[in-house]
Symmetry: C2
Subunit: 124 residues, 2 copies
């Protein structure tokens, strides 16, 4: 069995340097480079907190796929904490937001989440 080396990884062009975007084909195809792993791990980390994951599922499953803090109750944390977690999910690129009147509405970023899903789709 030959030694695995990340330097063997083909580098894919990164299209949007200033925006959090996941990259790369399914993980069975080739190892991630350090830079790719850095940006992609940040997205998985965002879902690695139970409260954030619940909030993400609340928004993803809400009618029209979006929700504001005003729609969320009963998760066992205060509204400022909810806002804090939603901001983290947005910073990781998993949610987008839009202010309408008093409230900020959060929506799942479908392309980003689809790429994360594809990355873990290891059927050869």
């Amino acid at each position: 069995m030959s030694k695995l080396s990340v330097s063997e990884a083909r580098e894919l062009p990164v299209l949007q340097d200033d925006v959090a975007v996941p990259c790369c084909p399914p993980l069975t195809e080739r190892p991630l480079s350090a830079e790719e792993a850095e940006r992609t791990a940040a997205m998985f980390k965002a879902l690695g907190d139970p409260v954030r994951l619940r909030l993400f599922s609340l928004i993803a499953s809400h009618e029209s796929g979006e929700a504001c803090v005003c729609d969320i109750s009963d998760v066992g944390v205060s509204q400022p904490t909810v806002s804090h977690h939603l901001k983290k999910l947005k910073e990781a690129g998993l949610l987008t937001s839009e202010r309408r009147a008093t409230w900020v509405y959060y929506k799942v970023a479908p392309d980003v989440v689809a790429t994360m899903s594809a990355l873990l789709d290891l059927r050869r």
Copy 2:
């Protein structure tokens, strides 16, 4: 728009209490319960570290989908650190391991990773 409440979530039976298994349909279908979020977030958290994610991709993309520490080089961390991270991935349920002679071989747990992928497959 009605208030979202996690208590509205349908509870799915958990089949394997002692093993790390992800659960649940795609996140668009219904919010996760606290217990579901707890166990599933631990899996995303395991991939939320850049070194661990690289190691996971090295194993997933290696021939036959398995590798031992002896196959891994050039990730910028020591072999004990590699072993530590592989153990964490195993504890999270994402890898299985088997000792053969001197080395422990790690393999991706395909069902667990497939369920994580499906959870993030939000196409309705």
